[in-house]
């Protein structure tokens, strides 16, 4: 919804724990928890485990219940494989569009000045704030059967693409924007005055500084894309082999009481989510290190 909610840990100085003047080795082993803080840690960890860790572990355990063979069969059954292929390919496509359009939007919001720019700032966050089921309804009203444009993309793959595009709009914009604000225009002007073309300046000066932010935004938007469900319910028709995505596949397995198969597909989404978190962590650490 706002910039900070969308952006990853890039700015979070996790790497700087409270300064401890002790040696590196000793610091790792000791803690400075007071009894009250220790109690707080215990209670919050208990809740975090009950709410997040144990349930996610249950997904992994359930997925492995039938052994490797059953796991593989669940994932490669034609309908599931088609759903996974569609989800990944559309999410990749949307991420590519977001890399280009998100950077362009961030650029316009930071460097351009025109009447109504503040309004666009709010518009960027709407997809993040809007309940996903409402997002589906919103897109349906312009691209569905009663569209004033005369198109009807409901129940087609275009609908899947549009839904992904809508819900992932803020990610690249909100990660690139703050970096662009920090970027000194003087450096670009210097490059331009030395004879660099606009394209050369963009490629050699701006793009390298934006690359970590664009990568973070792209990772977030890919993760959001493959896990999307709510906006598709009304929009895509969830037709097997055609517009059915991974989340819908999981849901229909759950409704058919095939929990092992559901957990198998879910484990794929879970792995992607974890990979994205690790990627973001690595990026934020390297950005923190190099300034």
């Amino acid at each position: 919804m706002t910039s900070s909610a969308v952006t990853p840990l890039v700015e979070r100085p996790d790497d700087a724990p409270p300064p401890a003047p002790r040696g590196r080795r000793r610091r790792r082993r000791t803690t400075d928890l007071t009894p009250v803080a220790g109690l707080g840690l215990g209670i919050t960890m208990l809740w975090f485990s009950l709410l997040v860790l144990i349930p996610l572990l249950a997904v992994v355990v359930q997925a492995s219940e039938g052994g490797w063979q059953a796991y593989w069969e669940a994932l490669t059954s034609p309908q599931t494989a088609a759903a996974l292929r569609l989800t990944v390919s559309q999410a990749l496509l949307v991420t590519l569009v977001n890399i280009v359009m998100g950077t362009a939007i961030a650029w316009v919001l930071v460097r351009d000045r025109f009447w109504g720019k503040q309004f666009l700032e709010v518009v960027i966050d709407i997809p993040f704030a809007l309940p996903t089921i409402v997002a589906g309804l919103v897109l349906l009203s312009l691209y569905g059967p009663s569209s004033p444009l005369g198109v009807d993309w409901a129940n087609t793959r275009v609908a899947v693409f549009l839904a992904f595009l809508f819900v992932t709009l803020p990610f690249v914009v909100r990660t690139v924007q703050p970096v662009l604000i920090e970027l000194e225009p003087e450096v670009e002007e210097a490059a331009a005055s030395l004879g660099a073309s606009r394209f050369t300046t963009f490629r050699t000066i701006i793009l390298p500084s934006l690359a970590p932010a664009i990568t973070s935004g792209a990772a977030l938007s890919f993760a959001r894309g493959i896990s999307e469900y709510g906006s598709l319910v009304l929009l895509s028709g969830n037709l097997p082999y055609s517009t059915e995505v991974a989340s819908v596949r999981i849901l229909s397995y759950v409704e058919g009481d095939k929990l092992m198969e559901a957990a198998a597909v879910a484990s794929i989404l879970l792995v992607v989510a974890l990979v994205v978190i690790v990627v973001l962590d690595i990026i934020s650490r390297s950005v923190a290190r190099h300034g």
Binding site: T2, P131, I133, F166
Partner: protein, 293 residues
């Protein structure tokens, strides 16, 4: 990052003014601006306004009728109470975890700070499935035991609250951690050395300093909680007048035949959208205050 709006307003203004004078005549700039506005218009602005139009397509009367249906009233009441409890839990959890992450070192601290973000990138459907596998009364790991102790989680409000708390878990923490890191502990330690108890020091020194960040976190969590759909759909069962939240009502009514149901779906959707936009406006308009303090 949290302050992209404020930062853009304050220190970069003069520099940006200069850029404008250098490049204002570039056609590239106009083309880019036009592309961006057109993109946002077709993707967000136009579709959102069409929903408002569709809601009132038959005038005001059906909308008012829709608002008086007991199912609609119940769904919004349930959504509000679920969101309230999820936000209360996440706020308490968020304050404690943020303090622990910023002020203490302990084994697993780094892992915890990474794991805190997991709920933001996990699919809502996976969240629902995960809770189902543990808390379902029939097949869950501990659901059966809880149920015989008299606590039904799945297909009942506790499960809906857990699903909602899960998906909005990191929002308060993400707002608090940067602010807590920035303010440090000097003032609080000074208060302690002057004889304040830890609780007094926290309430009179730290809480005022983090109150805006806390408020954004709460507003963000509230907006996210009111709109959760996928995770709630799995754990609630979606029975009207019992476990059907507002988002589930939108889905059910849209899929039913008849203009009344469609209008009801649009009305509920519009209310949810208005709350979301209101939350956005509150957050964006409150944010600059942090700087002027």
């Amino acid at each position: 990052m949290a302050d992209s709006l404020t930062t853009s307003a304050a220190p970069t203004r003069p520099a940006r003014g200069k850029v404008v004078t250098v490049r204002s005549r570039s056609p590239f700039r106009w083309v880019l601006r036009l592309i961006v506005i057109a993109y946002l218009f077709f993707l967000v602005i136009w579709p959102v306004t069409l929903v408002a139009k569709a809601t009132f397509s038959r005038g005001l009367a059906p909308v008012l009728d829709a608002l008086q249906q007991p199912e609609v009233i119940f769904a919004f009441k349930l959504t509000l109470s679920v969101a309230f409890w999820a936000v209360v839990i996440n706020t308490a959890f968020g304050i404690v975890v943020s303090l622990l992450l910023v002020r203490y070192t302990f084994p697993g601290r780094r892992a915890l700070s990474a794991m805190i973000d997991v709920p933001l990138s996990v699919s809502p459907i996976v969240v629902g499935l995960a809770l189902l596998l543990v808390y379902s009364g029939r097949t869950g790991w501990i659901g059966g035991a809880l149920e015989s102790a008299g606590l039904q989680v799945i297909y009942a409000p506790p499960g809906i609250i857990m699903a909602t708390a899960f998906v909005s878990l990191p929002l308060v923490i993400r707002e608090l951690v940067p602010v807590l890191t920035e303010i440090g502990t000097d003032s609080e330690q000074a208060a302690r050395s002057l004889g304040a108890s830890p609780l007094q020091a926290f309430l009179s020194i730290t809480l005022p300093a983090i109150k805006w960040a806390l408020l954004y976190g709460v507003v963000l969590s509230l907006a996210r909680s009111l709109g959760e759909f996928g995770a709630v759909k799995i754990v609630s069962g979606g029975v009207a007048m019992r476990t059907q939240t507002a988002t589930l009502l939108v889905e059910e009514r849209y899929q039913q035949f008849g203009p009344e149901n469609t209008i009801t779906a649009y009305t509920a959707a519009l209310i949810l959208a208005l709350i979301a936009v209101l939350a956005l406006v509150v957050v964006t308009s409150l944010r600059p205050k942090e700087n002027s303090q």
